[in-house]
Amino acid sequence: MTERILMPEPGLPPPHASRLSPHSRTLSVRVWRGTESGHFQTFEVPRLESQTVLDVVTDIQRRLDPTLAYRFACRVGMCGSCAMTVNGRARWTCRTHIDKVAEDGRLEIAPLNNLPVVRDLVTDMSGFFDKWAKARGQFRGATTRRDDFARVPPASPARRLADAAIECIGCGVCYSSCDVVAWKPDYLGPAALNRAWTLVNDVRDTGNRERLAAVAGDAGCHACHTHMSCTERCPAKLAPTASIAGLKRATAIASLRGELEG
């Protein structure tokens, strides 16, 4: 691996000085090949200092098998495109160090669960993002560019609730980890509902009546069993379960008031 863009962690040698780990010189990596049907192919990859799972996949693709398909962009945990299933758990591969997931030198890398596989480690995310649209995840304001800026006090309760959920980058880790998505394919999922919750708490937004109707019911927030897999595995440390609980309260109140359309 000659190209290293990730910055080294404090106290560790720079990436260009990476060398074989003293306790395990190679990794045995099982990588999913194919589409929905396929098989795991095993590769032997040198184990390096400060090596991430994305480094391993890149090494395989560049050095061992150029036909391996995978997706990445920023390599620093900002874009959310490199999420895969690593030893059975959905993770950002760019922010997952080998030391944390493969102490025994074994690694299994598969595409994200609950999404159609395009090829190898690449999933089709369109269904995932279509559900953001179904959950009315688009901001709808009432002002124009000629109006003054809205002033939302940072300490206001609604702003704090929106802030707590706003940093989602749409990586799909929560969606892939959710049992209810696996059981109910039409369930909107944690990310779309989390997005809807940020807009419910956006005092500038005017689309909440339709939004609450869109996120309620058997395919919406009421399908959540509060397993909290999404919250446990969110790499951005968000709590979609809390957002969904907020939507349950808001929709229940709207329903009792007869404000829930649909």
Partner: protein, 112 residues
């Protein structure tokens, strides 16, 4: 089933769960008390016969079960077997009515 009804079902299941939590505690304490004082049909019937309080308590208990269990079963059937639509709703409604019928019959039997 429209969205509002789905939300009302969810709310009803949570409300019935709260009632069931209280009913179960009373029921379990009563069982333990009954066992310690000699478990016999005569003693139990002696407590429940003619008692409006026990009849009201077990009526609430039965109705809570009849609301709570079918809604939960509806979710289980949908998630486990992919059963959706009117057929599922009718099936769980029949279950709810059966629970009401059998449960109230039992309450009546220990009251009269």
């Amino acid at each position: 089933m429209n969205t509002r009804t789905q939300v009302l079902l969810w709310t009803a299941q949570r409300a019935s769960a709260a009632l069931l939590a209280v009913c179960l505690v009373v029921h379990l304490v009563t069982i333990i008390y009954a066992v310690r004082n000699g478990l016999s049909a005569a003693e139990i019937l002696g407590r429940t016969r003619g008692s409006m309080a026990w009849a009201a308590f077990y009526t609430v208990f039965v109705l809570s079960i009849a609301v709570h269990a079918p809604i939960g079963l509806r979710n289980v059937l949908a998630e486990t077997f992919g059963w959706r639509g009117r057929g599922l709703d009718v099936a769980v409604l029949v279950m709810a009515m059966t629970l009401v019928m059998w449960g109230l019959r039992a309450v009546y039997a220990v009251f009269v």
